[in-house]
């Protein structure tokens, strides 16, 4: 328990004393080539501050707990002494003569009336006391062994690193603690215990800090090295404080409240307590007060100093404000999520960014993002003034920060920033000239980086062009939801405005949506039509016919103005309307999800005309089919992004005209189908009953490697699954062919035929851990069944459909699997997230070199040929090269 923190660490946490212990690097300065390097840090040495050191670096000895005199001026020798820095605008620091903000602040010190244990070293002190002699202060190991141990440790550190040294040392110290006799002076050792946090007991008797300090002083320098302490920098007696450093005023500024009252920092409060008690202790000692009173004051001083360092020691009541709220002292400032390290140093924040809820807008382009007007007036772009843009920028400055499109700041060539207000507007307009910079509001077409967390792949951050829109949400085209993995159930996204020309160019060329179309994972488009856009195109290309007027109207409503490719006929089929989007020389054959009456799923596009087949998820959807991939290959990214947008709008516009809705009647079945389904269930029930009966009579043949009951389970599952599949088939045969629910399932827009069957006929077997439900009560799942009942209904088979309604037992089984899968996802998400993080961190510097090897940053080889086949997936089609097409195009040239 004793040595939890290795000493180096403690030194780091506690008192980093920089330069003073550093070797002076005179030579380093002479051969410094760049004159801009003022001084170079050669090394950093962490150590414990010695009392001499504390006094040396202090500029004032604090003697009074008072802060200010009657005029409100800091008292000399008080905690706010102006030699320790200033926090009032009017005052001058007496150490460096600087004012507020320029003065870094300086340490002071107080002389403690009695030594006090430093809380953060309590464990280390314990270790030292236990493993050294109480009489002679030598380490409890024979002299000749000390040298050899030192050599051993040295060797271990060299070979296995400091971690291993610490480990070995810990074992060693653990052994020493049990020694009962000093090998040097033969003195008997008494067991020392710690009464946390800072009281040491020797055989139930307290050792006071003075005595502890005496013992620590006796430890020889040679022995210290074995403990891993360099006596040049750390002497153990320094861990018992005799003087204490007072942090500069600048790191504990007081706040002036509106009422003119001053509110001091928590640290100042604590220091006030320390100084006050210290003074009282001095007075009592000098007056020769009884020992009990002195002891009490001493303990109180120990408490205050302890809580000054750390106010969340488990054994101590935290020091509180008058309001009862605990003080935030040094450790609380550094530690945990809101502490200096994680909050201020590791936390990354950025300006010129925005975050809000997202909502869909299919009428904006895929590479656009709609932003609210209020945001457009806050987000700015610095625009350098030149002769050509001067009139334009003047107009913006004139409109000012309130009217859009205006400007918020002007920056003079010397870097002075001026806010544009109604008062300064005239003067700003007057002085504006080339060389100035104007921070203007963002406008339509400006570049922005759009992001949704978790940013798992590069498509999670893409560059969009701004569109300023009314409302208070970000608008994005639903087709780009997939790469962001976004939906509109309350998702929020972030937006960043690049501030330099370089950043904007880089974002535009490397990150814009169209550059990210082809996924590096599988070499197909990650952006495609979704939901309504798919069902719309399916309906359109399947059977619809329009008059010429209606067709033109439809295309125009979808934002397609180029009608040159539209058929000249008076009656235009849906296929011809869709073909109007395609380029004239485009040929394609592929396979649709949909199969026609002849069982063919072929889709043929010849010379930009859809001749055969329908457009469904396999053609238009993201990550599937080669239609979009081929268009991208031939006509490039900008064309593709446009055509996806057009298809999308054409789809939803068709749907809007055609009318599309899902209804309860979509799941209606004719009476004969209902009868057939009933027959299937009856048969399945009979089969299962027979199986159970044969199991009970012990005539059931066990499968190889399975017990009889396992065999029974398998057989029952098989029967029930078959029954469910048959009902599914019956439903899909008998349900209305052109019901909208069915269209959604067939086109792949949403759902599948199983969902339809679950609504119309039968939900099916509920399974937990890959088995039928078998948990709950003894031998039964719910108390409404008999014990040992193995029938389908007693083991989670839901024979009803959602439309007809479930029995209470069925509903309960449904909730069981529902809860199970809920728990499963809730537990799995963080696990897989962490796994992903580790993989990403392990592989982050790997790079494919020009010889196609994958190497790490040190040049070590990880793969001899990237992916074992050297293929860039994003240049392939679904991970494969289409050799036939390559030959065809080469031959045709």
């Amino acid at each position: 328990m004793a040595d939890e923190n290795p000493e180096e660490k403690i030194a780091v946490i506690e008192e980093p004393s920089e330069e003073l212990t550093l070797p002076k690097e005179e030579a380093g300065r002479v051969d410094m080539p760049e004159p801009s390097v003022h001084r170079k840090v050669a090394a950093i040495q962490f150590s414990v501050l010695s009392p001499q050191h504390i006094k040396k670096m202090a500029v004032v000895k604090v003697v009074t707990p008072e802060l200010y005199d009657r005029e409100g001026y800091p008292v000399d020798g008080g905690l706010m002494d102006t030699r320790m820095g200033v926090i009032d605008p009017g005052l001058v620091c007496r150490t460096d003569g600087k004012r507020l903000k320029d003065c870094p602040g300086y340490f002071g010190y107080i002389e403690l009336a009695r030594p006090v244990i430093h809380l953060k070293f309590a464990n280390l002190i314990m270790t030292l006391l236990k493993s050294t002699c109480r009489e002679c202060g030598r380490i409890l190991v024979l002299q000749n062994k000390v040298t050899s141990l030192n050599a051993d440790l040295e060797k271990i550190e060299k070979e296995e690193g400091p971690e291993a040294r610490r480990r070995v040392l810990k074992d060693l110290i653990g052994g020493m603690k049990t020694a009962t006799k000093c090998p040097h002076c033969k003195a008997k050792q008494i067991k020392i215990t710690i009464d946390k946090p800072t009281t040491y007991l020797e055989a139930e008797k307290r050792i006071n800090p003075i005595e502890i300090r005496v013992r620590l002083e006796k430890i020889t320098d040679e022995d210290l090295i074995l403990f891993g302490m360099n006596p040049k920098f750390i002497r153990p007696e320094w861990m018992v404080l005799t003087v204490m450093a007072i942090p500069p005023v600048t790191m504990r500024p007081s706040i002036t409240l509106e009422s003119g009252e001053r509110s001091e920092d928590d640290l100042t409060h604590k220091l006030g307590d320390i100084v006050r008690i210290n003074q009282r202790l001095f007075e009592n000692i000098n007056a020769g007060a009884p020992e009990i009173i002195i002891e009490d004051l001493w303990d109180l001083l120990q408490y205050h100093i302890t809580t000054f360092f750390d106010n969340s020691v488990p054994q101590l009541p935290p020091a509180r404000h008058r309001s009862g709220q605990p003080l935030k002292t040094i450790t609380e400032r550094i530690k945990s999520k809101e502490g200096r390290i994680r909050h201020n140093l590791a936390g990354k924040r950025t300006n010129f960014s925005a975050r809000t809820v997202i909502s869909p807008d299919p009428m904006i382009k895929l590479n656009e993002v709609g932003i609210p007007l209020v945001m457009a007036k806050k987000l700015t772009i610095p625009e350098r003034v030149n002769v050509w843009n001067l009139p334009w920028l003047k107009k913006l400055v004139e409109l000012g920060p309130e009217k859009y499109p205006g400007a918020n700041y002007i920056i003079r060539p010397d870097g002075k920033k001026k806010k544009i207000t109604d008062e300064t507007k005239e003067a700003s307009l007057e002085e504006l000239q080339p060389g100035y910079t104007v921070e203007r509001h963002v406008q339509d077409g400006d570049i922005a980086i759009f992001n949704r967390q978790p940013s798992l792949h590069r498509m999670s951050m893409m560059c969009h062009r701004l569109r300023v829109l009314p409302g208070k949400t970000f608008r994005l085209n639903p087709a780009v939801c997939h790469p962001y993995n976004a939906d509109f159930d309350g998702d929020e996204m972030n937006l960043h405005i690049p501030q330099t020309e370089e950043a904007r160019a880089e974002a535009e060329f490397l990150m814009e949506v169209q550059t990210q179309l082809i996924s590096p994972r599988y070499g197909l488009s990650v952006i495609g039509c979704v939901q309504d856009a798919i069902s719309g195109n399916y309906i359109l290309t399947k059977s619809l016919k329009f008059s010429r007027e209606n067709a033109v109207d439809l295309l125009l409503a979808a934002g397609i103005t180029d009608l040159s490719r539209l058929s000249r006929k008076q009656e235009i089929s849906g296929k011809e309307i869709f073909s109007a989007l395609l380029p004239e020389d485009f040929n394609f054959t592929g396979h649709a999800k949909f199969k026609d009456e002849t069982g063919s799923d072929e889709v043929i596009i010849e010379k930009g005309k859809l001749i055969k087949g329908v457009m469904d998820r396999n053609l238009l959807g993201e990550g599937s089919g080669l239609l979009l991939r081929n268009i991208h290959k031939r006509y490039g990214k900008d064309f593709t992004i446009n055509i996806i947008g057009n298809m999308f709008r054409l789809g939803i516009e068709t749907l809007a005209r055609h009318g599309f809705s899902t209804a309860i009647s979509d799941t209606d079945l004719p009476a004969e189908a209902k009868q057939k389904i009933q027959d299937v269930f009856d048969k399945a029930n009979r089969d299962v009953t027979d199986l159970i009966a044969s199991f009970r009579e012990d005539t059931l043949e066990a499968f190889p490697g399975k017990t009889k009951s396992e065999t029974l389970e398998l057989k029952i599952l098989e029967v029930l699954n078959k029954a469910r599949n048959v009902t599914g088939q019956l439903v899909s045969e008998h349900a209305s062919k052109d019901s909208h629910t069915r269209i959604m399932a067939i086109s792949g827009a949403r759902g599948n035929l199983i969902n339809l069957a679950q609504m119309a006929a039968c939900v099916g077997q509920q399974a937990l851990r890959g088995k039928r439900i078998d948990q709950g009560y003894y031998d039964r799942t719910i108390s409404s069944f008999r014990k040992g009942d193995l029938s389908p209904m007693a083991r989670g088979f839901v024979a009803h459909g959602f439309k007809n309604g479930l029995t209470p037992a069925e509903f309960y089984f449904g909730s069981m699997t529902g809860r199970d899968s809920l728990m499963d996802t809730a537990l799995r998400t963080p696990k897989s997230g962490y796994l992903y993080r580790r993989l990403a961190n392990a592989m982050q510097d790997l790079k494919v070199e020009y010889d196609y090897t994958v190497r790490d940053s040190g040049g070590k080889i990880v793969q001899f040929l990237y992916g074992e086949d050297g293929m860039d997936v994003s240049k392939s089609e679904k991970g494969q090269l289409n050799i036939k097409r390559i030959i065809r195009t080469v031959l045709s040239e």
């Binding site: 010889d851 040049g859 001899f864 086949d869």
Partner: protein
């Protein structure tokens, strides 16, 4: 050292072929990739797959495995002591 196995692990479907490279081959490989042996991935001398091959630290092992993307893929590893 690993315990002697009582079956031939090279007959297992998941164990790829391991072969020691000759000095000439080794030289060629290192020259081709412009690396030293220590930039290769490692394999321990005690690795079960090397039990029947006489190797010492610094040798290069050629591993030919079947790959789902490329048919056969060649991999090289450098033998190290523990």
């Amino acid at each position: 050292m690993a315990k002697k196995l009582n079956f031939d692990l090279h007959k297992h479907a998941l164990v790829p072929k391991h072969a020691k490279c000759s000095d000439a081959e080794k030289k060629k490989i290192l020259k081709h990739y412009q690396i030293s042996v220590y930039d290769l991935p490692y394999i321990r001398k005690s690795d079960a797959a090397l039990a029947e091959i006489d190797v010492k630290a610094g040798d290069v092992i050629k591993i030919s495995r079947t790959s789902p993307t490329a048919g056969e893929a060649v991999y090289y590893r450098c033998v190290i002591n523990e």
